[in-house]
């Protein structure tokens, strides 16, 4: 009986020590771990909360790195959370930032509409919010939105393909679509469909595959689309995060050929990841529209600093640029992607 009581007390003490250890280890995290850093020089005493939807793509990884570097350069602390594309989790993490008492919050939302409630809480707490890459839904006040001109960028890509296609070319298109809760995915889909409607004699939409930004869905989508229509010769990919799955699908089907070779499937992609730029240089991908994640990350931090300093807000729309098999070794010879 006595032993039992001792064991019980010891186990509670052990758990307490473990919890204290957890709290202690993470409490002094400045400069020590990945999630919270403090610049060595010129510390302003301010902290920016960075709420990332996910970091599964090279674009988001670059975005994140750029924000970290900008914070370090500016001498501000940052604290970061990653929501694994779970909007509920992201809302909770933003609320935790409010509890933490951060001075500004940069949100890369998994879903711009579903994050409105958390932004309203930031508004109530007087903490300025900067939207990274995706706009917020209506009903909340944001200090600035840093985003890409998705629709126009996709339209320019289609224009490039149309202008470079030999006379009489007909494209049977497979369109991949990202998450339907993502305003960027919707804008890219609309941009693509509006652009091909301008060339009705050249483009025909054969299949639309929703991917939820998941590589496995993209792979099976490509396989199924070709199984039902083997004449597909054009794929619109709304994010480089899905490119490896598409490449794998085409390789399995024996259709991964270079531009100009017989059986080449025209590949138009979006983001500007290193994989895509390499594939363009190798001749397998035709064109990628690049959103400047490095610049956007920097601008998000700048906007957060402006908000903290009480300066005027200014939105920024990244016009983007296209890297293609035509210009990858000339105009953009130095661009490696990210």
């Amino acid at each position: 009986m006595k032993n039992k009581a001792v064991r019980r007390t010891l186990s509670i003490l052990a758990v307490s020590a473990m919890m204290l250890g957890m709290v202690g280890c993470s409490g002094g995290s400045s400069g020590g771990d990945d999630a919270s850093k403090e610049s060595g020089s010129g510390d302003s005493g301010k902290t920016i909360g960075i709420s990332m939807c996910a970091i599964e793509s090279q674009m988001w990884a670059e975005y994140q790195e750029s924000m970290h570097k900008a914070c370090d350069d500016a001498g501000v602390k940052y604290t970061e959370s990653i929501a694994e594309n779970d909007v509920q989790k992201q809302n909770q993490q933003i609320e935790d930032f409010i509890s933490q008492g951060v001075d500004a919050i940069i949100i890369a939302p998994a879903d711009g509409d579903a994050v409105v409630s958390a932004i309203q809480k930031c508004n109530d707490a007087g903490i300025p919010v900067i939207m990274a890459n995706r706009a917020a839904g209506e009903g909340a006040e944001v200090f600035a939105t840093i985003s890409s001109d998705n629709k126009e960028m996709v339209k320019r890509e289609i224009q490039y393909v149309a202008e470079n296609a030999p006379e009489g070319t007909k494209y049977k298109c497979l369109e991949l679509v990202g998450s339907l809760t993502d305003v960027n995915a919707i804008a890219r889909q609309e941009g693509f469909e509006e652009a091909i409607a301008e060339y009705p004699d050249m483009f025909e939409l054969a299949a639309t595959v929703p991917t939820e930004w998941k590589g496995d869905l993209a792979l099976t989508g490509v396989q199924n689309a070709f199984a039902s229509d083997d004449d597909i010769n054009f794929i619109f990919n709304p994010s480089d995060a899905l490119l490896p799955s598409i490449q794998s699908g085409l390789q399995q089907l024996g259709k991964y050929e270079k531009v100009g070779e017989d059986g080449h499937v025209t590949l138009v992609t979006f983001d500007g990841a290193a994989d895509a730029v390499t594939a363009i240089r190798e001749g397998y991908v035709d064109v990628v529209s690049v959103q400047d994640a490095t610049e956007q990350g920097k601008l998000c931090v700048q906007a957060a600093l402006d908000a903290i300093d009480g300066k005027e807000a200014s939105d920024y729309t990244d016009p983007g640029f296209e890297v293609s098999t035509e210009n990858c070794d000339t105009e953009y010879a130095d661009f490696e992607g990210y």
Binding site: I12, S117, K121, L180
Partner: protein, 321 residues
């Protein structure tokens, strides 16, 4: 002597929650303030209600995967009825109707699950996994994948309002937990459920209608998911097909950390409630401390693993006795 006795009778989960809460209050900067505690209590509500419902199915030796998925379907369907952009313009009637539909949806899928488990004698994990996929699919088809926004102000202020530090939605969640606690401890259904969970064959021989018991718990679990949907919609002020997508681990974590046996027949709902609170508090505190997200997942996983191992040791000991 009596104090010593009553201290001994307190389950381990209460000690864990108490110790972690006090340590956090003292050592975590920003945690010991009104807004942080209110936020933590609000964050716990949905998990608490869902875990209470699934707790019943686990007591029976089963599981309910549909529960978290229903969060998505009920919020998008209910949200579209309640929304100011809906046909009823966000009126009081719209709110009432939306809530009723959400509860019916939850209970309806509970009926499908219960019926399939009882009538076709299908394992609950297969049935509820299938209905989970069905529910997810329906949510996407219903909205086309987009979120539902524009909740009326009254509904929003219910979701985010509080009496001092106690959010209104927590009162609803606690009421649900109390109802299930009474059901388990004071009613025939509760006693039958423990009996069926411990030994279904013996229960059948002793005259308990196992089919009815099992059917009822899936309906209650579905109803809990409907209530959780109402809370989620009021709190988040939007419905989304993404809600609940990563929640099932936390639901099972709450139940197992609370000491409920995954094999069925043993466990208290009050401990599951504390488990939900502990799981939410760990996530929240570690977030405030800027611990990287994947580290938080790792720590939660370790805690659940330790709790499950302790349960196994406990079960083996009681079997040996």
């Amino acid at each position: 002597m009596s104090i010593k006795k009553s201290l001994k009778s307190i389950d381990a989960i209460f000690w864990f929650v108490g110790v972690f809460f006090i340590i956090s209050l003292i050592f975590v900067p920003g945690f010991a303030q009104f807004s942080a505690i209110k936020s933590l209590l609000s964050q716990t509500c949905v998990l608490m209600v869902l875990a209470c419902g699934v707790h019943l199915t686990v007591l029976n030796g089963g599981v309910d995967f549909t529960s978290a998925a229903l969060l998505a379907l009920t919020t998008v369907v209910g949200g579209s009825i309640i929304s100011t952009g809906g046909a009823l313009g966000g009126s009081g009637l719209a709110i009432f109707l939306g809530i009723v539909v959400m509860l019916l949806l939850g209970a309806g899928f509970g009926i499908i699950n219960g019926f399939s488990v009882v009538t076709f004698k299908m394992p609950s994990f297969i049935v509820t996994m299938a209905t989970q996929m069905l529910v997810n699919g329906l949510a996407v088809v219903y909205t086309g994948g987009s979120s539902v926004t524009g909740m009326p102000a009254a509904f929003g202020s219910f979701g985010n309002g509080s009496i001092f530090v106690i959010p209104y939605i927590l009162i609803i969640a606690v009421l649900v937990a109390v109802c299930i606690h009474i059901l388990l401890t004071k009613t025939l259904l509760g006693r039958q459920l423990y009996a069926v969970g411990t030994n279904p064959k013996a229960s059948l021989i002793s005259g308990i209608s196992t089919k009815k018991t099992i059917f009822k718990i899936y309906v209650i679990s579905g109803l809990c998911a409907g209530i959780a949907g109402v809370i989620e919609l009021a709190y988040m002020q939007s419905g989304s097909v993404n809600y609940g997508s990563t929640m099932f681990n936390d639901i099972m974590g709450s139940i197992i950390v609370g000491g409920t046996s995954p094999l069925g027949g043993r466990g208290k709902v009050i401990n599951t409630v504390m488990g939900a609170f502990l799981i939410t508090m760990i996530g929240s505190v570690l977030n405030i401390l800027s611990v990287p997200y994947y580290m938080i997942t790792l720590i939660k996983g370790l805690i659940i693993l330790i709790a499950a191992s302790l349960d196994l040791v406990k079960t083996k000991k009681s079997m040996a006795q």
